[in-house]
């Protein structure tokens, strides 16, 4: 590392700098294992570009599985008690006669949430784009540690496999909701899913946390130490800034979730009572006592709230990059964008209590958390207005990626604004744990993050696979998805305001909810529409890998360094020297320039002023 940096200091300005550490081996370095065979190239690869693709494909498979689960419970919610023979085919004894069992309903809700939050929007989103973009956009030959990076993926794979596998065990998967609050999750007597299913959930999550930490440390080290000549922190593309802060959040908060999980494992298996007190269940008083279930919630949400931004920030970073590139305009307020990422990240650590307003916490604490929570709206508003100003007087190219980026701005606004209601403790009393919450977080976190992820896939697919995705299918995918998302989640706000609790197997037991059957049917229909749209995407994705048009080197006329690498992937990224950076990433439509973009590796023209 030090030789590398020293070399930076001596490198010749204006020409790319050599990186002898790699060039001495030739620029193709397979980690000293000779030429790659199938195993080292596709499976145990240490190349960040391959690992990125591994993360993405795994996340797509997991996301598809989670989507199927959501369709199954939407069938139950839309048509409660109706017989669907296909459910019995899929779920066997968990859907006798084609009617979903209430415990399986809760299990599907739990695993759907866990997979989407962790496997798709954390592992999948960060794993894919941090791996792909960090080395390519900062100008590094690979991650700081290719080996740890490989381990990060394989821990993720094992975690995903165990989580998905747990669905098929005899007693059913974990079912206490994705937040796994004890004592429900701690006592096998409390529900079938709290037996082996919960054990597997904890094992899977522990592996996931290891994966996330290995990845996160690698991302941080790479960004801090392996930036190419001229790539100062203030010239970093906003994608890298977002991924950097995301990794810092993960490294600081995931260990806390690990401790929460560890104590829960102890309570479940070794007779401790960190989270258990005064419990009488199955006709017996529990011997061990003296803990607090609320302790778990503090530990969980100390991760859980930063986790929201671990999911959201990469999507916002991707959006910044795509909105600027396709508006053919610099991102408006680069420094404010970086500042708002930092502000959001800082605030995310002091707002966790807003998930716990009605746990009986000291009302004064509730006031403090209301205060900090509502402050998050300020940097968020700055981001929204900066996106809008970037579009203003742009020359907008509507690539499928751009469509999803604009879609993200919409969902981020819609979902963000309802957060102002939920973050207010006095208002939270009545809508806590209702469908209002379900609507809010699916729009602001689920939809925004998945839109960011789709935008990223459409935008960087040429970089990943050297092929172009089909644009018509991309447009169809966008429009059906956005209709599906708002069709499903917008009416849910009103269900919440009608007092409908989340995680209810059916609303039919309450006369007060009798008028809501039609709304639930409509929501379920929109869910199927949305799912159909994802089939279009999956088809387009895999079809384009094999049959897509060959990609040119820089299909979107973009400024960032990844587009200076050859279309064919090589280990080490650049065949010759790593390019030197002379400007920020957002010189689009700069007055006086001949083209409407100036890549970062182009030196300043005589008399040209650097702006950022």
């Amino acid at each position: 590392m030090s030789a590398h940096e020293e070399h930076h200091a001596h490198a010749d300005h204006g020409h790319g700098h050599d990186d002898h550490g790699h060039d001495d081996h030739g620029h193709v370095d397979y980690g000293h294992h000779g030429r790659p065979d199938f195993w080292t190239h596709y499976v145990f690869s240490q190349d960040h570009k391959m690992i990125s693709k591994q993360f993405l494909v795994t996340a797509i498979i997991m996301g598809f599985a989670a989507m199927i689960m959501s369709l199954i419970f939407r069938m139950q919610l839309g048509w409660p008690g109706e017989k669907f023979p296909i459910l019995e085919t899929i779920l066997g004894k968990w859907a006798p006669g084609g009617v979903l069992n209430p415990n399986m309903y809760l299990a599907l809700v739990t695993i759907h949430g866990t997979i989407i939050v962790f496997m798709v929007l954390t592992g999948g989103l960060s794993g894919t784009f941090a791996n792909l973009l960090i080395p390519l956009q900062v100008g590094a030959r690979d991650m700081a540690s290719g080996f740890l990076n490989m381990l990060s993926y394989w821990f993720f794979f094992a975690s995903s496999a165990i989580m998905l596998g747990s669905v098929f065990i005899e007693t059913g998967p974990a079912a206490p909701g994705w937040t796994v609050y004890p004592p429900l999750s701690a006592l096998p007597q409390a529900m079938p899913g709290s037996g082996l299913g919960m054990t597997l959930w904890l094992v899977s999550m522990s592996l996931f946390i290891i994966s996330s930490l290995l990845g996160g440390l690698n991302y941080i080290v790479t960004i801090l130490n392996l930036r190419t000549q001229g790539m100062s922190m203030t010239r970093l593309p906003l994608t890298v800034w977002a991924l950097f802060i995301t990794a810092v959040l993960g490294v600081l908060s995931f260990p806390v979730l690990f401790s929460a999980a560890l104590l829960l494992i102890f309570d479940r298996s070794f007779g401790t009572s960190f989270y258990l007190s005064d419990i009488f269940i199955s006709g017996q008083a529990l011997e061990h006592s003296g803990g607090s279930p609320i302790l778990f919630q503090h530990l969980f949400w100390f991760l859980g709230h930063p986790e929201v931004y671990i999911i959201l920030l990469p999507a916002l970073g991707i959006t910044s990059e795509i909105v600027s590139t396709n508006s053919r305009k610099p991102i408006f307020g680069y420094k404010a964008m970086v500042g708002s990422i930092l502000a959001i990240a800082f605030l995310s650590f002091i707002v966790w209590g807003h998930h716990m307003f009605i746990t009986g916490m000291n009302p004064f604490l509730g006031s403090v958390f209301t205060f900090t929570t509502l402050l998050v709206a300020i940097p968020s508003a700055v981001k929204v207005f900066n996106y809008l100003t970037t579009l203003w007087k742009g020359n907008i190219v509507f690539t499928p990626a751009m469509m999803f980026a604009i879609g993200l701005v919409s969902t981020f606004i819609t979902g963000g604004l309802t957060g102002i209601i939920l973050g207010d403790s006095a208002l939270d009393i009545n809508i806590h744990d209702t469908y209002f919450v379900v609507a809010h977080f699916h729009i602001v976190m689920g939809a925004s993050a998945i839109f960011g992820m789709f935008a990223g896939v459409y935008h960087w697919f040429p970089k990943m696979y050297g092929k172009m995705m089909n644009k018509h299918l991309g447009y169809a995918h966008f429009w059906l998805t956005v209709i599906g998302v708002y069709g499903v989640f917008f009416p849910m706000h009103f269900l919440g305001l009608a007092g409908v609790p989340r995680r209810y197997y059916t609303n039919t037991e309450f006369p007060m909810f009798d008028g809501l059957a039609d709304i639930n049917v409509m929501i379920s229909i929109f869910a199927f529409l949305g799912a159909f749209a994802q089939c279009i995407f999956i088809f387009n994705f895999f079809y384009s890998i094999y049959r897509g048009n060959r990609s040119p080197q820089n299909p979107w006329n973009s400024n960032t360094l990844e587009w200076t690498t050859p279309v064919e992937h090589i280990h080490g990224n650049w065949p010759g020297a790593i390019p030197t950076v002379h400007r920020w990433a957002y010189d689009y439509s700069k007055p006086g320039a001949s083209a409407d973009f100036i890549p970062q590796n182009v030196p300043l023209a005589p008399g040209e002023e650097e702006i950022h």
Partner: protein, 356 residues
């Protein structure tokens, strides 16, 4: 049969789409275009669709809001609920215009500034003035909302008045039990290790305050216009006592006593008249996932005049009478208590059915 047909249809559909893509691409190539490149037509059409999409979305939002106004909870039946509803209305009036303003800008910019070869984007990277505007305005707005919100919250969560009627709500999988403090307005001590037979709440009968406590199931009554202080307990997992018509909710946590107090302002009869629904009932439901029958853990709340309430409560037996040994049929008491819970909850198979 259908299970066999589905994969077949999927395969056929994929094959058809694959052929269609080829046709599209060939026709693009014939026109001398690269099939993946975003054409002038694409930009025009998608920008127009963005505009139509945003207008359609806003229309849908307005339509849904008007249509679904009828399903949201009726006017609050508690004193503090009127305040939180007021706070909610103010919040809507702040975020609503923001929502419309930003979406209109989004749709309009997307429509107006689509790519044309003969024009260039404006290089506009930074403006301290603009950024100050949209930092300061949200800050000021949110500060007022925060102050309004926190002061409302503190009013609600402040100490209950001295004369508040004390009621324990006791949760277990999957039913609720209410315990009234009786003549001394003090709940007797209880503990999970004392749960035995008919004493399902584990009330300590050695405690003199417990003797006149009254335990009720199925439905519980509260008097209109009096402050009611609820003490919440759970014996197994976390539950949440949610009384949406009163804008009241509090978790029931094993090992902890939590509390919430409010003043009901409308009797059940008044609310029936106001909503025009002769079958209207106030309801207590569980709003924290607690197991297989979570979706059906409920208790009816009756709000009535203080006289009616007193009459109802006087007819209830005290815990001392309840637990008094009956030589002939000591086991029957426990059974009838269990049956007083909503019958449906027993129908759902769960591993930890607490009904023993």
């Amino acid at each position: 049969m259908i299970n066999f047909l589905i994969p077949l249809v999927v395969i056929l559909a994929v094959a058809v789409v694959a052929r269609l893509i080829k046709v599209f691409e060939l026709s693009a190539e014939l026109k001398g275009e690269e099939p993946w490149r975003i054409s002038a037509d694409d930009n025009r059409i998608q920008s127009l669709l963005m505009f139509v999409g945003v207008v359609g979305f806003l229309a849908y939002v307005v339509y849904t809001t008007v249509q679904l106004d009828s399903i949201v909870l009726p006017v609050s039946a508690s004193e503090h609920g009127v305040k939180t509803d007021g706070l909610l209305t103010v919040t809507w009036w702040i975020i609503g215009p923001m929502f419309f303003l930003t979406h209109i800008l989004l749709g309009y910019f997307a429509y107006k500034y689509y790519f044309r070869k003969d024009r260039a984007a404006t290089f506009f990277a930074h403006s301290t003035k603009l950024e100050m505007i949209w930092t300061v305005i949200p800050t000021v707005t949110l500060t007022s909302l925060i102050i309004y919100g926190i002061s409302t919250w503190q009013e609600i969560t402040g100490p209950a008045p001295e004369d508040a009627i004390e009621i324990e709500l006791y949760a277990k999988q999957f039913d609720w039990t209410a315990r009234y403090a009786g003549a001394d307005n003090t709940l007797g001590r209880s503990g999970f290790r004392l749960i035995e037979g008919a004493n399902t709440l584990g009330v300590d009968m050695q405690d003199s305050a417990a003797a006149d406590d009254k335990v009720v199931r199925g439905e519980f009554h509260i008097p209109v216009g009096r402050s009611v202080l609820f003490k919440f307990h759970s014996r197994d997992v976390i539950h949440s006592a949610y009384m949406p018509h009163f804008r009241a909710q509090m978790n029931c946590v094993p090992g902890m006593t939590t509390q919430f107090h409010f003043v009901p302002t409308k009797t059940t009869e008044e609310m029936r008249a106001e909503t025009g629904n002769s079958k209207f009932d106030y309801i207590l439901l569980c709003n924290k996932i607690c197991g297989g029958a979570h979706y059906n853990m409920q208790m009816t709340i009756v709000v009535e005049t203080e006289e009616a309430y007193n009459k109802w409560l006087n007819e209830k037996k005290t815990l001392t009478e309840d637990l008094a040994p009956k030589p002939e049929e000591p086991a029957m008491q426990a059974t009838s208590d269990t049956l007083a819970a909503p019958v449906d909850t027993l129908a759902v198979p769960t591993a930890g059915a607490a009904h023993s």
